[in-house]
Amino acid sequence: MGAKVKIIERKGSSLIERLYLIEIAKGMATTFGHLFRNLKDNRNLYVRHYPEVQPEIPARWRGRHRLTTHEDGTAKCVACFMCQTNCPAKCIMIEAGERVDGKAEKMPVKFHIDLLECIYCGYCVEACPLDAIRMDTGIFSVTDNNRESFLLGLEELLATPGACSEEEYKKGGA
């Protein structure tokens, strides 16, 4: 005992309901109300005029990836291979090289993400010890008409800016 038991009255057994027609008329009145309201003023429609009006993307949305940079524009990534190791879809391919700017020992020479393989799970972002890879670009629609353009390179990943401010991103729990 203890759980509240709520007995729900079963409907559909009274004579008026078994006659169908009255209930059907009620239902049709409801649908006609919707039609009339929308015909009278089509601003009442529950639709977003999509390509022109874009949806609001929250800071925690996992969109397309980007690589973050230091203030001087060099990549934060040190090619530790954490993300590549963690990736369940095996879509990240990194090639490490020697770092010359003195910020660390290694840097990526090549950093490829195959967006056709990516499942947007965000494990790469979780795994990164230096906050070098993020999915905060707010890009949710990745389309093209050839396969090659879905293979993102290092330059492209570094060039894409984040869609939200640092405070918002931190507030999102990252």
Binding site: I24, H34, D41, N42, L45, Y46, H49, E52
Partner: protein, 428 residues
Amino acid sequence: MSLLDYLMIAIRVAFSAFIPLCFVAVCVWMERRGAGFFQDRSGPNRANICGFRAAGIVQNLSDGLKLAFKEDMISDHIKHKFFFVLAPIIVFFTAVVSFAVVPYADTLVLGGKSYLMQGIPVDLGILWFLALAGFGVYGIILAGWSSSNKYGILGGLRSAAQVISYEIPMGLAIVSLLVVYGTVNLNEIAQFQGKLLFGFIPLWGAILQPLGMIIFIVAAFAECNRTPFDLAEGESEIVAGFHVEYSAMKFAVFFMGEYVAMFASSAIIITLFFGGYQVPFLSTDALISYAKPVAFLLMLSLPVIMYFFAGWIRRSNISHYPRENDPRVVEANVYIKCFWGLILLLELILLIILFCKSGGSATTIFVALLQVCTFLLKVTMMIFVYIWVRWTIPRFRYDQLQKLGWQVLLPLALLNIFITSAVVVALS
């Protein structure tokens, strides 16, 4: 036969053949936009020609073009290719021809000769419709069988069982109607409904036979394979039912056949129960004698209706997001100008009627045109009811469908016959 005779034959046949086809576009448009508005979404509203979307009708054109240019393929596993191709033709042909006996205006008297305003001037009337509506299902069964597909054959079988179950209540509902009207000729039935009951209620079938009307409309929905009786193509159970193997233009013919059948059965419902082509409260004779006042009233009311319609277009046809130099406002202005042009043309025609000799051939043609417009308006409203029901009621289960047909509609139809006959015998 004079030139006028040939002209009248051509006009009547063309009307009977092409109006249902034109209404396919209207039906599909109403269905898709209506479905959208019933469900609080907008429906197809993007396809356009040079920015003109015509409230979504352009979408029909693009869909039609797509279906016409699609590869017309027949799978290798289909052995009876002749029957496979024949099936959509039967469905479409019977649907178009079943409209041929429906009168869309009262008998037109021109130069001392009278012309029956229906595609095929025969007296078969409702019997012709019953025969052809029943024949249309052969196309569906043939399609299901020749598809060599489990879903196809199930759809065909369901359709066959459904049509057999619902032809009987439909026929019995018609029997009680025939007891009232005393004729099978649809034109005479429509003329009968031009009278007034107690001087102020139109003597429509809906008032004389309310129960018969409900039975007939339910059975007509089932005959058209429309929701809530669209078991033959129940998507959630048997993919697409009888037309699962059809593609491209063969599918389009099925699709158009369905809508033409809907138009034809709407026309029959209108003719039997809602006064056919009769303008409410004004029989043909009254219209001919009052042609000038009616024309004058129309001349006054048309601009008023157009004024409000233009306001509605202007309010509806705008972009609902900030946009510089909104092209939809320009579009709306063009539509409004086109409609005003149309109204101006109608006003001119009405003006000619006003200055013509009353009771002459111009008046009779005007009355016929008025009745055609009334008929098409009523049919459009009935088609709207079809669409309205489709987006309100879910599909019946198969056993519920058979139970409704045999255990509810059939006894009710029989009861209706007894009551009607008793009343008719008592009154005569």
